[in-house]
Symmetry: C2
Subunit: 335 residues, 2 copies
């Protein structure tokens, strides 16, 4: 009888201990299992050391939950951006789909080049040409309609070089990093030069980042009552360019706080990295360096897409971690 | 021995049942205790019925966690806005503080009127005058400096009619509503005509709404490197007016999803209420009607501040709940 009592008592205690363990496991990050697609290199160690430091209540560098803001560039940082930005393929598909209603596009530039398949040429010919194409891809649609157009495209379209859906052209180590930061009570935001309304329909399912945590370039919109029913309609004119100097301004507009960690891959992210690093207390700046021509693409200073030059020069003096994709990542894309 | 075994088994089962109960109590709203400062009137019942419906997994109207977006106007909805918007008192204090460096303000309008104490007159004289005053209150400061100026003011300033700090001039029933929605996994945002950078430094401590969930009117900002150190500096020119038609556009910019619930008190909230209500599925629109001249202020159609006219007319046909502050609230301000 006594033995049974003891055994049962142990069971209750064991049950409570198990619960405590479960709660601890949920609340505290276990760094040893984090980031399995990352080599155990200096880059990974610098990232995990930063996170351990700012989440350690005993540390002088401890950062309160709400202030753990991390910002991520998208093109070239979370998903591939070669041979051209994926949004340009989207715009090209939209132009093709609408071409039957616009016979004048067969001869009018930049539409004519686009319809002949010269996407990079059509976009690259001038800033004005690029704006015309983006406008044609979304102007006049209301927010619900454009959202659906993007959802349909991301489901059906395939990357020309790999044949994969674009939402599988994301970096497995970065998905792990997003999860790792979330487990450590960071709030992660995308801060991209890409169109804000082009990203929002799929970032939550792909990255776990909800629409309100996506900052990007914006077209103007107007409010309209049609037969008494309210709509918000895309005007199509570029209202905010969330690139270079625009990124810290976009962060200030949308987030209202300076991040403590920033992740980018190009000179478009330079000012975001500079502003993040300039805050007081511990800061993490990370540059993803595309060095892997076999598993992905290798490019930096001379590339038209994702030029990485000034930011690479400034990385050592500003203490930014440079991730060498070839050396530091065991795996690039998800299985 | 058998008896003891049974008793221990019951204890373990009882412990698990208790845990289940605790978890349920945390996860499910207990409507009977929610909103203690609200009378058990039709307004309260309509609000809690909506929340119970959209959070009930068995309901056809169930709304997934991430899509439970609620938007709140600030002036007149979450805090008092009489005799004039509180931000105007802030601007007046900023003008007074800077006056010694600007002797020309003694004769130059609208500064001269402002320095003589005619705040409403100085602001009301023209749109241009109002913009000049707002610009003078923040232009040239970087984000950290302006943030600190606002924090200092909200701690030290007192409302002229009540002598209370402005952050105590908030509505107790609305604080309870914010908590109730948070307990039901809503994401609440402020969408205000007020300055976004004027609200963000204190909304988290007062309302539990972090800076990134505040949408408001914005001045332009610029990025600057000063001796290699990055700053984001307020330019002072009004770049976005988050009022009337601007509110649904501001929501689209910042949140990227149509809310399922909107709370306002004036015609400045009309389009936000219209756009929220126009979405498919269950929607909640609420208008706070200022009817209590004893405990607060009574005003609507004829008021210069917080004019409520068109929205009040449209409320019945659009199914918006009109909260009568005098009848529906047991208490207005926190103790």
């Amino acid at each position: 009888m006594r033995l049974t009592t003891v055994r049962r008592t142990i069971n209750v205690k064991g049950f409570i201990a198990l619960l405590t363990l479960l709660v601890s496991a949920t609340c505290l990050a276990d760094d040893s299992n984090a980031l399995p697609s990352w080599q155990d290199s200096a880059a990974r160690q610098q990232i995990t050391a930063f996170v351990s430091d700012v989440t350690n209540p005993e540390s002088a560098n401890y950062v309160a939950l709400g202030e753990r803001i991390a910002v991520f560039d998208n093109d070239g940082t979370l998903w591939a951006e070669q041979p051209i930005y994926s949004q340009l393929f989207f715009v090209a598909d939209r132009i093709r789909a609408q071409a039957p209603e616009h016979p004048e596009w067969q001869t009018e530039e930049p539409f004519a080049s686009m319809l002949k398949g010269d996407i990079a040429g059509a976009f690259g010919s001038s800033h004005d040409a690029a704006l015309k194409l983006v406008r044609a891809s979304q102007a006049g649609l209301d927010t619900d309609a454009f959202d659906q157009v993007v959802r349909d495209w991301i489901q059906s379209a395939r990357h020309p070089a790999t044949g994969k859906p674009y939402n599988k052209m994301v970096y497995q180590p970065m998905l792990e990093l997003l999860s790792y930061l979330q487990d450590n009570d960071f709030k992660s935001f995308i801060v991209s030069g890409g169109g804000i309304d082009f990203m929002r329909p799929w970032t939550e399912s792909v990255y776990g980042i909800p629409p309100e945590r996506v900052v990007g370039s914006r077209v103007a919109k107007r409010f309209e009552l049609i037969d008494g029913v309210a709509h918000v309609v895309h005007e199509g004119t570029l209202e905010f360019n969330d690139d270079k100097e625009g990124k810290p301004i976009g962060i200030s507009q949308h987030i209202g706080r300076r991040p403590i960690a920033a992740f980018g891959n190009s000179d478009g992210d330079l000012q975001m990295l500079q502003w993040t690093s300039a805050g007081s207390g511990p800061r993490l700046g990370v540059i993803i360096h595309h060095t892997d021509a076999d598993r992905e693409w290798a490019y930096d200073r001379e590339s038209d897409v994702g030029t990485l030059n000034e930011a690479l020069d400034q990385a050592p003096q500003r203490g930014w971690v440079v991730v060498d994709m070839k050396q530091d990542w065991k795996q690039v894309f998800p299985d």
